[in-house]
């Protein structure tokens, strides 16, 4: 397993899942945040990362109470945005990748588990192979790191709900 398990989970088991290709400019936002969270070693918070989500991630997230998917987005948002995620049984539009809502839906159908799931989006602009994060994307990553600090230092469903409303 690549899940980096930190100290034993206290009250809630939490997974931060960074999505993206670290070699393609701002697509590295999700995996960059994953590295930050792993480095902080928040109690009870595990991390995982991959280029994209896939069917086996339904099994991975089934083991957690709370899951946060961190990813780059084209959407015009300020800093970083935390949103509550609902399962969706809609179409998956690419061959080999699944949307977070579809993984959540698959988890519910296969394992009868519905972790409280959130998406932490950070806007990106450049996606070229070999390029670094753009300066604006770095600022968004920093904003996402601050959100994670608040979420994971004293995690509770209330904190997540509050920050999802605020951001």
């Amino acid at each position: 397993m690549t899940v980096k398990e930190n100290s034993p989970a206290p009250e809630y088991s939490i997974l931060l899942y960074g999505i993206g290709n670290p070699a393609r400019g701002d697509d590295a936002l999700g995996t960059g945040l994953e590295r930050y969270v792993a480095h902080q070693r928040f109690p009870g918070v595990d991390t995982e990362c991959n280029y994209q989500l896939n069917v086996e991630d339904a099994l991975t997230i089934s083991r957690y109470d709370i899951v946060v998917f961190a990813d780059a987005t084209h959407s015009d948002i300020e800093g970083a945005r935390l949103s509550r995620l609902q399962p969706s049984a809609g179409l998956s539009f690419t061959t080999h990748a699944m949307a977070p809502s579809h993984v959540l839906s698959l988890c519910r159908e296969l394992y009868r588990r519905s972790p409280a799931a959130y998406v932490l989006e950070m806007q990106g602009w450049e996606w070229e192979l070999g390029s670094d994060l753009t300066p604006r994307a770095r600022e968004n990553l920093a904003a996402a790191c601050r959100i994670c600090d608040r979420l994971f230092r004293d995690p509770s469903p209330q904190t997540f709900a509050q920050l999802a409303q605020l951001s």
């Binding site: 070699a23 280029y51 896939n54 959407s75 809609g90 061959t95 080999h96």
Partner: protein
């Protein structure tokens, strides 16, 4: 008014692909093309980098088959460090790489069948798209969906144990491998990962057989569809061992025509440029490879599971061999040119990959410590292997400062460019031509034909919210008549 139908991007096909079907005023098909935006920047990206970085760097190309690129690059660099052209590694080095490769083949083929193809087989290609997807499979055929998840996970765990990481693995290095397989890892894969017997190699083999049974049952009930849909004659190319066995990791290049005549006679992979060239066409970003001896019009060929079972003479694992004999008998020993039989061939390879993993896991060479060899430094190296989607070519030249000065890649999906266009054309002419209305089922029919090839368009960037399906209908002047987004 002439019409043009555009499907962009093709659903459940990686990256950015666009199908354009032009129709005249009488709804007759005048032209059909598959446009693929192929990513070529990588060849420039690696120039000037130290050659030993290549096996890791190439994985950044694609999140779908990074292991194939990792191993093909390592094979090319084996030549450059003087470790031979495929048979010069230590037993541990070669067998660890093979285990990695079969893990990759297994999980990739499983994903394709359970995630992408089974919805079409279980619900029908004209079924409501709201249920014709993996979630629909989970709802109606839960056991099958669970099998798919666990089989995929098993392959991913094999990759992690051999490559070191699930993404950006570092296992294969020029001249060998950087780790062996521990006793604990071996036992987990044999008896069941995390003590779960459903994640054992024996279970993987049994489920691979079950997937084949599912396909064969569907085939028996839908012979017309599976045997005729998007079928056309073609050449076929793949690696085989010098004695003709299926070998996904190494071999010589063999080509046969639609009737079984050898058109590429077991050539050394280091000489591929003498036999394979690529044509550029103005309307497509992706090149069109062909065999130079036949030229671009007659020399195009198919690669991948169907081609591999057409070029090889036998499979060296017993269960897969039994199915291979049935597969070959179906066409009287001649090459099989039925596009939908890619699925059959892919499942036979899935079983073969599971059997190969079992053989390798029980091989004590995997616990030995002789991992790397070196020899006389060379200036160029070519590495070919059979990736899940077909033959993958990596070619590097290196200067005296160990910097890469040239890189040439021909990826599997590029090899299948012309065949996929042929498939789209077949579907357009046979299911859309003359129809006044183009339905969702017809459009999915185009995608079913393309999906048989399991194309991967190496985008590997996916930022959230950027994967819609758009269908646009425009007239001959380029004006949009209708546009759908789902």
């Amino acid at each position: 008014m002439a019409k043009k139908i555009v499907i962009e991007p093709v659903t459940r096909v990686e990256g950015h692909g666009k199908v354009t079907i032009r129709m005249d005023d009488d709804n007759r098909i005048t032209q059909s093309r598959l446009h693929i935006v192929e990513f070529r920047g990588f060849e420039r990206f690696v120039q000037g980098r130290p050659y030993w970085e290549a096996p890791v760097l190439v994985q950044r190309l694609c999140g779908i088959c990074p292991v194939s690129h990792h191993l093909a690059a390592a094979k090319a660099l084996d030549v450059i460090v003087g470790a031979g052209t495929g048979n010069g590694l230590t037993p541990t080095g070669e067998k660890m790489r093979r285990l990695m490769h079969y893990g990759q083949i297994f999980q990739s083929h499983v994903l394709h069948f359970f995630h992408l193809v089974s919805p079409d087989l279980l619900f029908g290609i004209d079924a409501d798209p709201a249920i014709r997807n993996v979630i629909g499979v989970a709802l109606k055929h839960k056991d099958l969906a669970v099998q798919g998840v666990l089989m995929r996970k098993y392959g991913q765990e094999i990759i992690e144990a051999t490559a070191g990481k699930k993404i950006h693995g570092t296992g294969a290095i020029p001249g060998g491998i950087n780790k062996n397989l521990s006793i604990e890892e071996r036992d987990a894969f044999i008896k069941g990962i995390d003590g779960n017997p459903q994640l054992s190699i024996a279970q993987m083999i049994d489920w691979s057989e079950a997937a084949l049974a599912l396909f064969k049952d569907y085939h028996a009930k839908h012979k017309d569809l599976i045997d005729s849909y998007a079928a056309f004659d073609s050449n076929h190319v793949s690696l085989v061992t010098p004695d003709g066995a299926l070998d996904l990791y190494h071999g010589v290049l063999r080509g046969v025509d639609a009737h079984g005549k050898k058109i590429l006679n077991d050539v050394d992979t280091q000489d591929y440029l003498d036999h394979v060239a690529e044509e550029v066409r103005s309307w497509s970003y992706m090149k069109f490879p062909y065999l130079t001896s036949l030229g671009p019009k007659k020399g195009w060929y198919r690669v991948g599971p169907l081609a591999r079972l057409n070029t090889c003479d036998y499979i060296a694992t017993p269960r897969a061999q039994k199915h291979f004999e049935e597969f070959r008998a179906y066409t009287g020993g001649k090459p099989n040119n039925m596009t939908m039989h890619y699925h059959w061939a892919r499942l036979i390879e899935t079983l073969h990959a599971a059997e190969m993993m079992e053989l390798l896991l029980n091989d004590p060479d995997l616990q030995k410590d002789d991992l790397v060899v070196t020899g006389t430094r060379q200036q160029q190296g070519v590495g070919l292997l059979e990736a899940p989607r077909g033959t993958l070519f990596h070619h590097y030249a290196v200067n005296e400062n160990d910097q890469i000065t040239m890189c040439n890649l021909i990826v599997s999906t590029t090899n299948n460019n012309q065949p996929m266009n042929e498939a789209v054309n077949w579907v357009a002419l046979n299911t859309i031509d003359g129809k006044a209305e183009v339905t969702e089922a017809m459009l999915n029919g185009v995608e079913v034909a393309i999906r048989a090839y399991d194309p991967c368009l190496s985008c590997a960037t996916h930022a959230m919210g950027n994967m819609p399906l758009e269908i646009t209908l425009v007239d001959s002047r380029g004006d949009v008549i209708d546009s759908k987004r789902k």
